[in-house]
């Protein structure tokens, strides 16, 4: 996993709440057995019209959003289906982080697994970012620093965000979580023996 430390980039704004993973990657594209190939179908049904041409009214199709690497969205982003394809698609499209007021639990966990930083800011800060993005007609950049846990722009915006220390470390180091867990082999083996022999902790609840 590619570590995430600090990132400066263009913001694309998606001012909608409850963006579900069915919208991020519609079901007809979940048939792939690879982790790749999802960028072209990110937000498919919003991004393209029924005839397959790009919908010019969709936020990511605005000229100013070209090359954006930071997605700014409304509350409860990533709700619904557990499909990690949603995170793969966002990453492959070029997003390194998503900023929103809140995220759905499974989506958030999937982000951490793929080096996509999910930044939670409070309502007022989100509103301010949307306003600044609108005032700049979409030509709006910010810098996000995971070590300092801040989002700043060059015109005085500054917000601090919190993140669980474990997730922060995981992203900063690009941790291989499976490798990390396998280091606990002795403990897993001991737990397993007790469990399988009916001496587990579950016997006493």
């Amino acid at each position: 996993m590619r570590p995430f430390v600090r990132h400066a980039g263009r913001v694309a704004a998606l001012p909608r709440v409850n963006v579900d993973t069915d919208q991020i990657v519609p079901k007809q594209f979940l048939k792939r057995i690879e982790r790749t190939g999802f960028a072209p179908v990110l937000f498919h049904d919003w991004r393209y019209r029924a005839d397959g041409s790009p919908d010019p009214t969709f936020e990511l199709n605005q000229p100013a959003a070209a090359g954006a690497s930071i997605l700014l969205a409304g509350a409860n982003f990533g709700c619904g289906s557990s499909r990690e394809h949603a995170v793969w698609a966002l990453r492959e499209y070029g997003f390194r982080l998503v900023i929103a007021e809140s995220f759905a639990d499974i989506f958030y966990a999937n982000c951490c697994q793929n080096g996509l930083l999910a930044v939670r800011l409070v309502t007022g800060e989100i509103r301010e970012l949307f306003a600044r993005h609108a005032r700049a007609a979409g030509h709006y950049d910010v810098v996000v620093d995971l070590e300092a846990q801040t989002v700043v722009d060059d015109a005085g915006f500054r917000a601090a965000f919190s993140i669980a220390p474990y997730h922060r470390e995981m992203l900063l180091s690009g941790l291989d979580e499976i490798g990390r867990t396998l280091l606990e082999e002795d403990r897993i083996g001991a737990y397993e023996r007790d469990r399988d022999e009916g001496r587990g902790k579950g016997e006493g609840w």
Partner: protein
């Protein structure tokens, strides 16, 4: 000892080791696998040269992507066939039991786990699927995970998880006649919103929950994710134990007796505290129907389509306007009487035998309205066989319903069962997101009896007035 919740008892018993910086390493008792969210996980194992640690605690089925027509025919969609084929090859290579399309036990993963007796109280159960919350109906801690976590569980039989918060949702009193488990859970989501329980595991308590069958409890827990919850759970009781007895993978005889004694202790202790509490007066819940594009956009069947102007925040008003435009609904339109084009009786929410019985009771001796196309997709091949043994297939067929083989089908339309753009569907599934049942399709979620009645009437009806 400090009083503990049901959740805490199961969680504590599965902690292998607390990890630095907060999360815990949790042991998994049952890992369910399906074709859509697993191929990349198996590929990851192969690339790293890893094995499946406990293949015997892992069970696979093909459900999301499978056609529901003639099982003797090959899968026509080449990509779907490749994905289903990959599951079979992975199951073989890694030594995992698979219920494939030829198996009499094939079905939606959240229907077959309970039906086979694989799902048992006190377990930690995971699956690369958000509706894994269904299994919590048995007093298990069951939650959905992403594909990277699927790979983690395959490789280690453990998962790294932050301990979630707890929420008690108490349904006080008894539900009125015509009000089902589906209505209770939709009413809750309408009240707390689709992010109302984010970060929490819900424990459902109260008289209305205790009175539910296992099928009903599964419906409630299934849709916990639609309230944003990590999982939903219900303490096991005699209803649970009776359901489990005699299931192929449940303990038998002396082992069952011992297990039941242990399971009886699986309930929240008096005085246990939750991080949040919600109380719902079950008697006041009316049959529910969704009008919008997420399950929180729901109302009593007697209500009207809401006016965006009536919502507090600009974000809500915008979301409602967008939803009404997508659903082609005007504020003030009565929900009862709204014409529909399609009926979908299926999904892991409402395609168990009790659901089919309830719908069949409504359609018996009647005909689907002219111009309406109606589909029954049993949750599993076992449910299908049971329904056929009871003659329900004939009831549906004579009424003009199509009778299919099991799978997720039009719940998400990965297979050929989809809505055409603009079609309006009375559905028993769990998600009414834009395009969920087909691009441009319009989904109204409701109970099986309500969906069946809508098919007969050709429009949404209040089941309480159905003679």
């Amino acid at each position: 000892m400090t009083p503990r919740t049901l959740f805490a008892k199961i969680w504590d018993a599965h902690v292998v080791h607390p990890l630095p910086d907060g999360p815990e390493l949790l042991y998994v008792d049952l890992h369910l696998v399906h074709e859509v969210t697993s191929p990349q996980a198996f590929e990851g194992l192969r690339l790293a040269g890893r094995r499946v640690r406990r293949p015997e605690l892992t069970v696979a089925t093909a459900d999301h992507n499978v056609p529901t027509g003639d099982r003797a025919l090959p899968i026509a969609d080449a990509l779907a066939a490749r994905q289903v084929g990959a599951l079979a090859a992975n199951a073989r290579e890694f030594g995992i039991e698979l219920f494939d399309l030829a198996s009499p036990h094939q079905g939606i993963v959240h229907v077959i786990g309970p039906e086979l007796g694989l799902t048992q109280p006190g377990m930690v159960i995971v699956c690369g699927d958000s509706h894994t919350s269904t299994h919590g109906a048995f007093g298990a801690l069951a939650f959905g995970i992403g594909t990277s976590e699927v790979e983690h569980v395959l490789a280690t039989q453990c998962l790294v998880v932050m301990r979630p918060k707890t929420m008690e949702v108490r349904f006080e009193g008894a539900a009125a006649s015509g009000v089902t488990a589906k209505d209770l859970i939709l009413a809750l989501i309408g009240r707390i919103g689709t992010a109302g329980a984010t970060g929490h595991v819900i424990e459902y308590t109260g008289e209305a929950i205790r009175r539910l069958s296992m099928e009903g409890r599964m419906t409630v827990c299934n849709m916990s994710i639609e309230a944003g919850a990590r999982a939903g759970m219900i303490a096991p009781d005699d209803t649970t134990f009776t359901y489990l007895a005699g299931r192929p993978r449940a303990p038998e005889g002396e082992r069952l007796t011992r297990a039941v004694a242990r399971w009886r202790r699986l309930k929240s202790d008096d005085g246990a505290t939750y991080d949040a509490r919600v109380a719902v007066d079950a008697a006041s819940v009316a049959p529910q129907v969704t009008w919008g594009t997420n399950p929180g956009m729901v109302a009593d069947i007697t209500a009207r389509v809401p006016d965006p102007a009536g919502f507090a925040s600009a974000a809500e008003r915008q979301a409602v306007e967008r939803a009404l435009a997508y659903m082609d609904l005007r504020p003030g339109t009565p929900l009862e009487g709204l014409p529909i084009d399609r009926v979908f009786l299926g999904s892991c929410t409402n395609a168990r035998i009790e659901d089919l019985r309830s719908a069949a009771g409504v359609v018996r001796g009647r005909r689907v309205a002219a111009g309406v196309r109606a589909l029954v997709v049993p949750g599993s091949q076992q449910v299908k066989a049971q329904a056929e043994a009871e003659g329900l297939d004939r009831v549906f067929r004579q009424a003009g319903f199509e009778w299919r083989n099991s799978g997720c089908s039009m719940c998400l339309g990965m297979n050929p069962d989809i809505l055409a753009s603009g079609e309006r569907c009375a559905a028993t599934s769990n998600r009414n997101f834009e395009g969920r049942q087909g691009r441009g399709g319009r989904t109204h979620l409701m109970s099986p009896a309500m969906a069946a009645a809508a098919g007969i009437a050709g429009h949404l009806v209040d089941i309480r007035t159905w003679a």
